[in-house]
């Protein structure tokens, strides 16, 4: 079956800067799952999201929607794409026009896409979408953005996405601007969309802990490349790439064992980076001479996991384009 979306050897450059380097993966929504894309600023995670959403074209390679190059979609295909793939962005403040009631962001898609045959039907659809994300319509409709909390506003954006009955939601840092106590609620409602409504989700974040909590698969990105990918349980519990290991050990845990500050942590090593070598070499505690000169490919260390590190050279190489083989559908 043709996957909903497919990236083929996609590279994105901004000037001399490579934001994303030769990534191939497909998003098959017939087996709904949450895939987290994790990395620090500049890792290429947002570039990936924007390309999947068709907001920026790749510099090299292609993004295909149902087998068709995104750059060459016909009008009706583009319209269908705009329904199938929905976005939730980081800032729940900037996406609203402060002069309109929040209803506006919900009634506009209903009208533009003729989702309902009558005003009453549209209203029912909106109310159901709000309930699906754990909001009470009577507390939301008719309000202005400033009257609602950041968490409520962000869930309205999720409800707006749900309204379109999409196959895929791309959520770019959806909880990084809301209070820690509300993050759990929003992420739980995303999880329900996958489990109960069969919507696939790409969850872009810098927060590995929330990624672990909600997703099935994870891609760890570092400076435009995939460092490690696979089933989230394996990657987080037994990270195989030194960058993933560094990320995990950097998260402060609620525990009476206080070893966070004394940890060796991030050390600059003597290895010199080169444009052809591993991107992580200058921070890598286990760097070998060849890491400075050769970019490590992804090695398939386990059925549901691959890591781009020469430490795992003994494992078979994962062919570029076969990333999906290590990403499993939801259990």
């Amino acid at each position: 079956m043709t996957p909903l979306l497919e990236a083929r050897h996609v590279t994105k450059r901004y000037g001399t800067n490579t934001a994303l380097s030769d990534l191939s993966m497909s998003i098959d929504t017939s087996k709904p799952a949450i895939t987290a894309v994790v990395g620090e600023s500049g890792s290429g995670k947002t570039t990936l999201a924007r390309m999947i959403l068709g907001l920026v074209p790749p510099s090299e390679g292609q993004v295909l929607y149902q087998g068709q190059d995104m750059a060459r979609l016909s009008g009706p295909q583009r319209r269908q794409f705009r329904r199938d793939v929905q976005a939730v962005f980081q800032d729940p403040y900037e996406v609203y026009n402060p002069f309109y009631r929040v209803d506006h962001v919900l009634t506009t898609p209903v009208r533009n896409f003729n989702l309902a045959s009558s005003r009453a039907e549209g209203r029912t659809m909106i109310e159901n979408a709000l309930r699906a994300v754990g909001l009470r319509p009577e507390e939301i409709l008719g309000r202005y953005p400033h009257q609602l909390s950041g968490g409520q506003r962000q869930r309205i954006m999720v409800a707006r996405a749900v309204l379109m009955k999409p196959k895929l939601i791309v959520a770019d840092e959806p909880v990084s601007m809301v209070d820690a106590s509300l993050r759990a609620t929003i992420l739980t409602s995303l999880r329900k969309l996958t489990d109960e409504m069969g919507i696939s989700i790409i969850y872009i974040t810098h927060d590995l802990a929330t990624a672990y909590q909600v997703s099935d698969n994870i891609l760890v990105m570092y400076r435009a490349c995939v460092a490690e990918a696979g089933a989230v349980e394996r990657v987080v519990k037994h990270p195989q790439h030194p960058y993933t290991q560094l990320l995990i050990s950097s998260i402060p845990q609620v525990s009476t064992t206080r070893d966070w500050l004394d940890d060796e942590g991030d050390q600059k090593t003597a290895a010199t980076p080169s444009p052809h070598g591993c991107r992580f070499v200058e921070r890598c505690p286990v760097a070998m001479p060849k890491c400075s000169t050769t970019l490590p490919p992804l090695y398939r260390t386990e059925p549901a996991r691959a890591a781009a590190c020469f430490q795992h050279e003994a494992s078979p190489e994962l062919p570029n384009g076969a990333l999906n083989e290590v990403l499993t559908p939801t259990a």
Partner: protein, 317 residues
Amino acid sequence: MNAILKVEGLKVEFEHPLGAVKAVDDVSFALLPGERLGLAGESGSGKSTMALSILRMIKPPGRITGGRVSLDGTELSALDHEGMRHLRLAGIAMVPQGSMNSLNPVIRIKAQFADAFRDHGLKLTSAELETRVAELLRTVGLPPHVANLYPHELSGGMKQRACIAIAICLRPKVIIADEPTSALDVVVQRQVMETLARVQRDLGCAIILVGHDMGLMAQFVDRLGVMYAGRLVELAPIAEIITRPRHPYTQALISSLPSLEKRGAMQGIPGLAPLLRDLPPGCAFHPRCPRAEARCTTEKPAVREVAPNQQAACHFA
């Protein structure tokens, strides 16, 4: 041991057409020399207002309506405008949340130090300034050439370190750090917190860390105060807070943190933080509290000692 900073019955109110809003409501605590104290809570709980009011930096329509703050025996409300200006940075320094917005974008890092020294009456020759700045930058792990850079030439983590260097330039007795790492990614966060811990140890000053990340608190502070709706609802040594939180809100804050141990162990706090101008009667937390009983809806729990060194404002603590 005598407290270095003492806060007693502090109250901050904001004028509002619908009546005064109590942002900080009768908060008391004592900070010991060299101690790391955390102040945790959701947005709107009053933790940042609390931090600003210690420095008497509340702007209208807000004002301090009661209570006392004293630093090393000096009552701050007795100080005049100039005295208070001198005490900021020299006595109590602040490391702000968004370092990108607190450094002056059009002057070099060195000049920002020079501003601070000049304002506190230190007359340094340019050679002396050069040496002092290089020394301060070295303390926070930055190379000396950073002195000649503009803020936009620094990464987020470097900017935050530059802010720490400015905060310690007059050897304060207390540093207030308001979510100093909330804009940084985890790897850089740990480096900045390590820097903060090291300069604090070298200086022997006390730190108040304001934030909502319970993981960070667990790893960094000695004692933790938890704020809810303007009140300090629990205050205890951090190990006690983690192993045996007395207030249900503290428990909820801990559970809302995503764990790396067990999947599906993350629970949000139901409901929303209350509006400060329209607080529920009785205990402000009762509409969201799993343990609430009839008594909680009418009777406001007082802050009381529930164990040695441990206080909480809950009927069941």
